[in-house]
Amino acid sequence: MLDFLVRRVAISVVTLLVISLIVFTGVRMIPGDPARVMGGTDADAAGLAEIRQKYGLDAPIPVQYLRWLGLAMRGDLGESIRTRESVVWTVARKLPITMELAGLSLLIALAIAIPAGVFSAVRRNTVWDFLVNAASLCGLSVPSFWLGLMLILLLSVRLHWLPASGFVPPWEDLGANLRRMLMPAFVLGAGLAAVLMRQTRNSMIEILSADYIRTAWSKGLAGRAVIFRHAFRNGLIPVVTILGLQTGALMGGAVVTEQIFVVPGFGRLIVESVFTRDYPLVQGVVLITASTYVLVNLLVDLSYSLLNPRIRIGGGTGGG
């Protein structure tokens, strides 16, 4: 177990280092002088020299990278060109909004996908199974931003049930907050629900045909006990993996969803920073996103051992 832990953490650290290298190089690859980029178009020669000095741009590239990495590890990602606010602070203000959105969409996705997946696995090859599969395929194929527009058209423009856009902090008015979050959360959760539904169905089908399930049936256990006590827990393992891998899709999806529903979160921040050419902000946001993804997947890998004792024991032998 310890061996597995150490190995897994070491790989994550290397990955994070390579990520930082990619992000650093990426920003350096933007055509033009970084000082000019940071100073904006109206900076004069003295201003440029000052910026070079301030950000250490006159030092050799490897030194610059190490200095930047050192600051980043202490939580200093520089400041936004546009607002002069620290990047970390800007992100810290926006992130809770996106986390609420992602949390709600995850709840919606799980509430749809797990029951539907289990149901269609139990009723395999019936009309119900076919319908669940069809719904999942549609969820996979529908472009989220179009789904969002169509929902706005139906629920806001035609029926006036939900507000089309905007954001109200939950501590000001929880009801208003949820009414505005419902549509974006559903749009963001739809694709995830589709993926999870498929995964739940497939892994439940596989588990339900296992020997120990047949044993449970033949002992005369009631259907519900077999499905929930015996099959469900094991069937959940691949679902958790997919969940970890989908955090990336969730973060990418937040960009689009927040743009459509005008939610002032992390995703909108990314688009804004790209459009205003606020490179320190882009750099910080991308670095934080990728690091979050690595950490979430580390946690997912570690959580297997809780769900499946076999990995806890034999984990060290897995190839990488």
Binding site: I11, V14, T15, L16, V18, I19, L21, I22, G26, V27, M29, I30, L137, C138, L140, S141, V142, P143, F145, W146, L149, M150, I152, L153, V157, T247, G248, A249, M251, G252, G253, V255, V256, Q259, I260, I270, V271, V274, F275, V282, V286, T289, A290, S291, Y293, V294, G320
Partner: protein, 281 residues
Amino acid sequence: MAADRAGRLWRRLWRRPPAAVGAVVVLFFLGLAVGAPWIATSDPQRSDYGKIRKAPTAANPFGTDDLGRDNFSRVVWGTRISMQAGVFSILLAIAIGVPAGLVAGYRSGGLVDQLIMRLTDAWLAFPFLILAIGLVTIMGASLTNATVAIGLAATPTYIRLTRGLVLSTREEDYVQAARALGAGGPRTILRHILPNIVSALLVQATVSIPGAIIAEAILSFLGLGVQPPTPSWGTMLNTAQQFLETAPWMAWWPGLAIFSLTLSFNLAGDGLRDLLDPRDY
């Protein structure tokens, strides 16, 4: 013999109606993309200020947009952009990912493998869309750059997949036999391993093309892909968002086009996976 095989594939496909429908619709869109100049005869970029945001009529079956342009024509021409972006980006991902994966898999455990895989892990840690957005920021917004960005963002999937496939194929008896007969590395990889993993890569391609098509539409929707006045489904939806209340038809058709094209690709891909799954034989 190839024709015979294609015929057999087609008959097997026909026994899976959803996959057959998917394949037919994909071919239909391919036809639209190729035949756009003959199908949509009115100029997709010509404005008519007497016909701004008009509901669908016989002359303009999909209505007109905010500049009085024919939406039908724009949707048809948009097919070209989407198909181009979807197919070329995945071809790029394959062109980089498959050779890298072959080398990493064949030399697994070695320095080159470690180097490629750590880079792949890091690359995979960037969410697909955010990586594409970041790359477009560096390269500048245009269709070509969006295509390249999507291709590069999709590359690690192919490296991973190819490497995994090579690892499982490498130990097969026929590969061992080829090596025992004195075949060198390149020959073993190209003549004995590659042909046996092509079908799995093909299935992956049919799954990633719809993803790439949606990604292009999203980038264009955000203003980071195709630039106006070129008709693309993403930019059309971007404009449509502003007129949702007064001209909802502007949002229906481009979205429906993306939806049906990606759905068909997914259906065809599912069918193809079933067909090529060796357990099926």
